[in-house]
Symmetry: C2
Subunit: 134 residues, 2 copies
Amino acid sequence: MASLSIGQLAQQAGVAIDTVRYYERNGLLAPAGRLASGYRRYGTTELRRLCFIRRAKALGFSLDDIRTLLTLSDEQDVSRIREAAQRKRDDIERRIAELERIRAALDTLITACPGHGRAEACPILRALTQEDSP
Amino acid sequence: MASLSIGQLAQQAGVAIDTVRYYERNGLLAPAGRLASGYRRYGTTELRRLCFIRRAKALGFSLDDIRTLLTLSDEQDVSRIREAAQRKRDDIERRIAELERIRAALDTLITACPGHGRAEACPILRALTQEDSP
DNA sequence: ATTGACTCTGGACTTGAGTCCAGAGTGCAG
DNA sequence: CTGCACTCTGGACTCAAGTCCAGAGTCAAT
């Protein structure tokens, strides 16, 4: 046990086989050990690393971010990991604020739109067609 | 006046020249009128339409959405415009909820991380390295 | 030994919304 | 008339994160 084919690894980590090879090509996973046949072989270390990547992605980190995180975690650099997490949190906060701004604008327009009648009465069209605000 | 070169149009609408040509190629703007030289000429109609596109993009609509909106606004179909706006609002709401979930998770991790010391004490690393939850 | 499932490679393709380019032709101020 | 800024075209390129492919080789169960 604890020796996995690429298919088993991918399945256990919940990613596609191509994704595993893609991560290897792009330095997120170290080059895998090989059987005589050339088939890749994996152990639990690689499985854990792959799961790390999947979870970090779910937290909104890009593969580039994750490469950094992996380096930092190898270096045991806790303070820099914390900083990276904070930067990402702030980043996500900004995206939330922007989306909320957009949602509020849409809400205003939708509420004001009668949903029938002449186009001139539709505030959504009017808002999109205003002459002001370059 | 009211006759603009592509550069003037782009500048007044706040987009790049290449973007104007790109929109024309992709059916968001009608093929522009031409001078004898082949230079495109624009009027206020096109400027308004281009601004419409810019504003709709700022509201989170994709160019594909906008193509639909433009068709609907030509058809004066107010009820369907309202529906499109509502769908987009719901879409944005889902994205906000997802980002808030991520932010909460990051907040938990950051709060618990001492920011120094051994890696084993860092909950961010621990969370990303857990063996549970495939 | 045969089958069917698996794996290998390098490279091309995808999506969305542009951006950049070379090489040629134009417009206009001084 | 010179020079510089502008515009034209078709096509290639960018970004991220994969996904798909053909053609060849391999593994494991029957």
